[in-house]
Amino acid sequence: MFLEQRARALAVHVVLVAYSALALGPILLVVMNSFKARNAIFGSPLSPPDSSTFSLIGYAKVFRASHIFVYFENSLIVTIVSMGLVLLFGAMAAWALSEYRFRGSTALALFLSIGIMVPIRLGSVAILNMMRTAGLNDTLTALILVYIAQGLPMAIFILSEFIQQIPMDLRDAARCDGVPETRIFFEVIAPLLRPAIATVAVFTIVPIWNDLWFPLILTSSDSTHTITLGVQQFLGQYITDWNSVLAALSMAILPVVVIYVIFSRQLIAGLTSGAVK
């Protein structure tokens, strides 16, 4: 019986390890080969770089030929600002919807939640026209505004769930204490929404960082490209230059992986706590 249990546990691990190899394999392959000289990439693709095959030629090319740091900076600005404003506006809206209810409150909540299902991309035609008219074409601001609109519905939904968890005695105590309404939100309610940040982040940051569509449509000049778009165009341009291609891919992969590994616990806790409706 015990042996059977052991065998079963082993089988489970075999399956999981196999899938892990499938999940990690391609990534490791790309990163590994980005550090090798060209003939080593083709000659022995599965072996890691050693002293004879190690080469940074691809990376050098990437730095020279593209503005990868500009792209990275753009992505960072867009993602962080969008995330911050989604959190702020979303929390304020979620609070108002749950606290300052009025006759149209439920209708408004429903209106805002439509965005979770309806893909914002379909309105791109009009968005582009709006941006052109407003003179925001080819700016990071345009991207930020679009991403905020995209991220708000889900954020409001998640934050509403978290607000339900806050004991309302605190709000009553603050009111008895004479605290003004706006201060109640910013100084009593908002600090207690800190656990929600992880959940909102998972659903907001990743789609924004990895988005190809809106940078493609809304940004035309190289200096406003995000890293996803920048890498994609670089790849298209240097498609036969395997060193550079692998290096560019690795440079796009590594920051994400590093951040992910560092914050994986919070990220996954955020996903599992907020996702179950």
Partner: protein
């Protein structure tokens, strides 16, 4: 400090009446306890006084100011919540002073009040700590401190001891009583525990199903309950009730008979033959070798021994259970059939609608 007046107060949620015609006057400096079972409306009444729940009908006056339309912050009240409601991300000092900033109290004055309250509640070493680092009893004291610094006209307590363990409950109860003597403040206190009510209150308001059943001093309620509900609610273990009816009336005495007791000659007026009467006697007033006109007997089924007193659970002739307090080491044996008697002054009688029937020659 000031008084509190509640006049013809009613509260309904749709068709559900939660409070019905509540009338109450609390004098300046009085400690009033609202007590009753869950759902009786005591917390709702408290929250309406605070301004956290709205008034459906009636009026509330704090210090002769009509406060119905005023927000909680404008009523000069302070509330201590059952869950303490301390701001988790602020330390104790900040918790206590947070509200004061917005009521225009100068920093120097805020400091003075916090230090004064901290001294009163022995919170001085805790001022820099956060709520998560405090025990339940400490948190409760901070919550009380937060109320004190507001220097309100009325203090409101919403079941503040319910979340504490038994021992802590007793010591905090004493603290609150001491605080009341120290501050001389008007306090309205809600609890479901009649022991807290009896020990803390100047006057007790017994509530049931949205109505006030009786208002009075603790001992008045104990010795002279106005109706069945109050009689059964105050006193632990609860009063024993014996259903019966008037067999005959002879002059000023009614002969009451019932399955659970021997026929009783009750000196009372206004009773008609056939009228339903419930006799009530407290467990502590029945004696094994006792004197008195009231007698009941039965077989002892269980004895709970608590030390100096024990409680015998007896199955009566009408198959209901009787609880009797027995003092001393000699307790009745199980299955022993025993007769218990009670004197006239310890007998209570209630009519068909549950109202107390005055007994001649007795204080109630």
């Amino acid at each position: 400090m000031s008084n509190l007046r509640v006049e013809h107060l009613g509260k309904s949620y749709g068709s559900a009446n939660v409070l019905i015609d509540i009338n109450l006057t609390v004098e300046n400096g009085e400690f009033i306890v609202l007590v009753g079972p869950s759902g009786c409306g005591k917390s709702t009444l408290l929250r309406m006084i605070a301004g956290l729940d709205g008034v459906t009908t009636g009026d509330i006056y704090i210090g002769d100011r009509h406060v119905n339309g005023l927000a909680p912050a404008e009523r000069k009240i302070a509330m201590v919540f059952q869950s303490y409601a301390l701001y988790p991300h602020m330390d104790v000092r900040k918790n206590m002073t947070f509200g004061l900033k917005f009521t225009g109290v100068a920093p120097a004055e805020r400091e003075r009040r916090v230090n004064e309250a901290a001294r009163m509640l022995r919170l001085e070493p805790l001022l820099g700590r956060y709520p998560r680092d405090l025990s339940g009893g400490q948190r409760q004291r901070v919550a009380i401190g937060r109320a004190i610094v507001r220097e309100p006209d009325v203090f409101l307590f919403d079941e503040p001891l319910s979340n504490l363990d038994a021992a802590l409950r007793v010591s905090t109860r004493v603290e609150i009583a001491r605080l009341h003597r120290l501050l001389g403040a008007t306090m309205v206190y809600v609890t479901h525990d009649q022991t807290e009510a009896m020990t803390l209150a100047d006057r007790i308001v017994v509530m049931s199903e949205g109505r006030i059943e009786q208002i009075g001093k603790a001992l008045d309620l104990y010795y002279a309950p106005a109706n069945l509900f109050v009689a059964g609610f105050i006193g632990s273990p609860a009063m024993n009730f014996f259903p019966g009816a008037v067999e005959a009336v002879d002059g000023g005495t009614a002969r009451i008979v019932g399955a659970g007791f021997e026929p009783l000659a009750l000196p009372a007026d206004g009773l008609d033959p056939g009228a339903k009467v419930t006799i009530g006697v407290r467990p502590e007033h029945l004696r094994i070798a006792g004197q008195g006109p009231f007698a009941t007997s039965g077989a002892v089924e269980l004895v709970e021994r608590l030390g100096e007193s024990s409680f015998a659970h007896v199955r009566r002739a009408d198959d209901k259970m009787l609880v009797v307090e027995v003092r001393g080491r000699e307790t009745p044996a199980i299955t022993e059939t025993v007769t218990f008697r009670a004197p006239l002054q310890d007998i209570h009688a209630f009519n068909a609608s549950g109202q107390s029937i005055p007994i001649k020659g007795s204080s109630h």
